[in-house]
Symmetry: C2
Subunit: 353 residues, 2 copies
Amino acid sequence: MKFRTGSSYTVVIEQARMPSLDIDVVGIGNAIVDVMAPANDAFLTHHGMTKGTMTLVDEDRASAIYSVMGSTVTASGGSAANTIAGIAALGGRTGFIGKIRDDELGAEFRHDITANGTVFRTTPATDGAATARCLILVTPDSQRTMNTFLGASGTLAPEDVDMELVRAARIVYLEGYLYDAPSAQRAFHSASEAAHAARRTVALTLSDPFCVQRHRAAFLELIERHVDVLFANHIELLALFKTEDFDYALERVREIVGIAAITLGADGSVVIAGAETIAVPAAPVEAIVDSTGAGDSYAAGFLFGMTRDASLYDCGRLGSVAASEIIGHFGARPQTDLRALAAQALPDCAITF
Amino acid sequence: MKFRTGSSYTVVIEQARMPSLDIDVVGIGNAIVDVMAPANDAFLTHHGMTKGTMTLVDEDRASAIYSVMGSTVTASGGSAANTIAGIAALGGRTGFIGKIRDDELGAEFRHDITANGTVFRTTPATDGAATARCLILVTPDSQRTMNTFLGASGTLAPEDVDMELVRAARIVYLEGYLYDAPSAQRAFHSASEAAHAARRTVALTLSDPFCVQRHRAAFLELIERHVDVLFANHIELLALFKTEDFDYALERVREIVGIAAITLGADGSVVIAGAETIAVPAAPVEAIVDSTGAGDSYAAGFLFGMTRDASLYDCGRLGSVAASEIIGHFGARPQTDLRALAAQALPDCAITF
């Protein structure tokens, strides 16, 4: 190192610290690994779980649940991380911010998120809670009952937000689930402010109706102050405005956010943007194998379309195509060549894949 | 402990050392975790892999392959371990003998094999190679290209074979893949001798045509000396007798083993037993999602049938039903209630599930 003195050494450092980042979308969300096993209804009842919901659990409860689960399948998950993986699969340049620990599960998450070229450089925790895991029981009716131990992921703090990455990305995508971690709420606000200061777009997904119920006021404040693009399914949208009236909810969301993409399952999605209301059909699906990650994947297609300056209708159609791929197999990350699939499904789309 | 002296203390020790084991099938095989990711043909070519084959790799090569694989899905595997999981899912009482290390992957394997009630008490290695892993690249044509790092699993030695478990089981099931580990070959012979001394049945699966090519003479010797029930697919059977003539191979296998169950893919299986030749149809499959583990699962149904004293035809049919379940989803271990499925598919079968 003796020879690298003076200005040449400085240059080396500068290059290392400030690589040329050219990112389409950076996601901020839970760095979590999914651990799945089949179970029957009696198992859920016996262990006090409510089918189809996501429950936060502590490490002891997570260990207790794992010890009674059947043979498991493990795969990286996390709502925003799944979306980022989808955007990368479509050919987008991506980054991710989320907190792992320096353990084996954390190494697995890192491998998987970086495997598709995503920039991931959040410093792992070297002590404290283990890497987050979501213990998922899959019942024969294909419903998923989730028990989430947030662990290290829940400790994401404003200082973990890589502002250089945020400023380098055209869109910052925030995962609603992270609102269950108080320090992460602050991280969302500082990331949003930095993004807007750099004239970037801020997108948010509501993640889950119960998550919306837990943080309704805080979400509304975040959306009104910072969010340009909102993703939700229709149940989450109803929860956000505490209403049963979908049309009313659409009008309310139109008032508080520039673009809202509301997914409707088999009925596709509806995109609200100013005075516009755009209905987008779902893409054909041969058989619904597992709907986990459909919303995450829809957001991937939509956001990728935005970074390629596609029309909102084409953004929605890209979302539909990406969601149809995820629904056709187990797991929440793409298993087929999404670029080729999108190019084939949308020959009239203005995007070059 | 002061109070437990004399004969009462002795009784406690005896009970602890010799619990009442009542096992249907004990498997001896690789204790391995599968790590799967999608890949295209160009990836295989670029990394020097031959599609559809299993290659043994060292730890460095395994790390190098993992570092270039896409986002992975992890699940416990191992041919005999999959079979044991299938027998347990059918309601059988099972044991497994295989070597893990005391690392996180080993803990995952232990969780998964014991989750269904299987007795697994092989002492984990506390130093040396890590727990075995099989890095599997899945191409769009659903073929699997496997890179196996045997690690701790390959160190299974005769002293690891829990003779109490072997003597307690009605059937000892040996995995051909273990023949790639020299110490395991000796373990097979000592386990077989102990099983026969206790008037138990010894079964063997040939695992893989290349594995058969690597160990043809040793396999023939093992079969002639020790094996009562042989499992193979037709390609492995041809490899065993170095022939292209299936009928010739059937006659040869009839001479050297009491029962041979040869799987034929969509054509079901043929069971050879003395002068008998029993054709068994395949069970209907809606869509072939992933054929990995079909042979392992067939063996599970067949062996479970044997422990319930079913006819060889019914053993074969149980094998077909169990295989059809595995083929219908990703992964090599059952995801549905195999007992209910078998009871429904085979209402005329003499077994009470």
